[in-house]
């Protein structure tokens, strides 16, 4: 790894990472405020969640029925599987990998970087290290937000962080996986916009598969192709264990995509802007 490239890339994205982490913490803090309303009247929430449509929606978003085991902790998984949280994290995991490879080529700065005495492998590794590191605080920021929220808006029942951190481990693996795919795509194209478009399209297709699986038999065989198939916060909180199988699949895909990106980036032509 090259420290100069790592720190330069880190400096380029530190503001974005900080803002996104703060936004995640704030979102979770406010989610606790919403949670407070629900926890105060769990009976009513149970009636609502028992409605067939809501039951299906909850199942597809959280990977299980919420109504059977309704506690403050299980209810808090709503805030850990919320699309806004995903969007905030995915801005980060798409922005950095596409900015460091296809972004450099598109801006023309690759001519500067790649004519310095560095192998492409070292550049790939040094820039990857930035998003690998940034994903960790971003994935665990929801826990900080929930903890702060609990201090600001005391819940009648304490959140069980002994179970919730396992969700963040899974979330971290999910984010690494998406970032690796973004890095791979970024190594294939010469324009950042193209790379972002491909990754966002892949995420939308993945979300669509996840959305259709509970209600449409035809889609079930390809359920495993969706990223979110391997992130089920409610099941994790219920089981109280890190879902090593899902984490393993996500990390394997991440490694495969990352290595494929490395292989291609080391061999590809760098076009002039």
């Amino acid at each position: 790894m090259n420290r100069a490239v790592f720190w330069k890339t880190f400096r380029d994205y530190r503001l974005l990472v900080t803002i996104l982490i703060l936004a995640i913490v704030l979102f979770e803090l406010l989610a606790v405020r919403m949670l407070l309303e629900g926890v105060r009247d769990l009976g009513m929430v149970r009636i609502w969640l028992d409605r067939p449509l809501l039951k299906t929606l909850v199942r597809l978003v959280f990977g299980g029925d919420l109504v059977g085991d309704l506690t403050a902790t299980t209810l808090s998984t709503v805030a850990l599987a919320h699309p806004l949280l995903w969007a905030l994290c995915w801005i980060l995991v798409v922005t950095i990998p596409t900015g460091v490879l296809s972004g450099e080529i598109g801006r023309g700065t690759a001519d500067l970087l790649l004519t310095l005495p560095l192998s492409r492998g070292r550049i790939y590794l040094s820039t990857s290290a930035v998003w690998i590191a940034a994903v960790v605080p971003a994935s665990f920021a929801p826990l900080l937000g929930l903890w702060l929220g609990q201090q600001v808006f005391p819940l009648p029942e304490r959140l069980e962080f002994g179970r919730l951190w396992q969700v963040s481990v899974n979330f971290c693996a999910l984010n690494w996986c998406i970032a690796s795919v973004a890095m791979c795509v970024s190594s294939l194209v010469a324009r950042r916009g193209t790379a972002v478009g491909i990754v966002v399209a892949a995420l939308l297709v993945s979300d669509l598969i996840n959305l259709l699986v509970p209600s449409w038999e035809v889609v079930r065989p390809i359920a495993g192709l969706g990223f979110l198939h391997y992130f089920r916060p409610l099941v994790i909180v219920r089981n109280g264990q890190v879902p090593w199988h899902d984490v393993g699949i996500l990390l394997s895909v991440a490694l495969a995509a990352w290595l494929a990106g490395w292989w291609h980036f080391a061999r590809r032509d760098i076009p002039a802007v």
């Binding site: 090259n2 023309g108 700065t109 001519d111 500067l112 004519t115 005495p117 192998s119």
Partner: protein, 299 residues
Amino acid sequence: MDAVATHGLSKRYGACVALCALDLRVGAGRLFGFLGPNGAGKTTALRILLGLLRATAGRAEVLGRDAWRDGPALRTEVGYLPGDVHFYDALTGRATLEFVDAIRGGRCGPEIRRLTECLDLNLDKRVRDYSRGMKQKLGLIVAMMHRPRLLILDEPTTGLDPLIRATLYGELRSIAAEGRTVFFSSHTLAEVEELCDEVAILRDGRLAEQQRMELLKARAQRHVEIHFDVGRRLSTPLPDGLQVLEQSPGALRGTWQGPPDRLLAWLSQCSVQDMTLAPPDLEELFLAYYRCPKGGGKA
């Protein structure tokens, strides 16, 4: 050892042939001009030498090593200025140079200071606030700061004012005088004429010519105008190499190709009142290479 040597170097983009079996040798310590019309394949060739592009066929050697395989080690001894220079907009000129210096091992400080002074560049501004010329100066410093054995420059004087251009010419000459090699592409033929001691001309991805400058100059035409004593007939036949464009009883205007002493020998047999022999017109020669089909430049 040659600074640059290519053997049957080819590059294709699908059906488009950008470079076709290029055989080029550039000796160490040369100021080498790389010429050709737009789309001739100059930038493709430069990018292959820098390991940015992979050759479809053939081999490129830089300082005796394979340009693709030994790229990172090789680039410690190579400096490059791209044709369209781009930097990180958010960094200042100083931060840019510190970043590059850190990757190059942190030993370029004195040379950076010397070049900055020489090229008169303000390093405290952000690159996004730099003019085209300032970016070009920064690019030149980045290319030269580590005193490379081979300096590859793509259109180095773009955006530079005449004063800085003259300073750069001086720098390039002193680099060549130290035995280091300057390999540059340019569209400014006067610049090539002034600086280079050898040139290669590329057309349609092929090498049209590679020649020492003095030989090219000898081959180039010179404009000549001769005024004879009125009333005296021109008794001696015109020498080979003199092409008459316009002739009147007392004057002759045309072009001369060949060593001037032959022309002077012929003139000594005539009764000459006055004459003008212009310097070799390389521009015409280069343009002939640019325009004509295969080998046309030699015609």
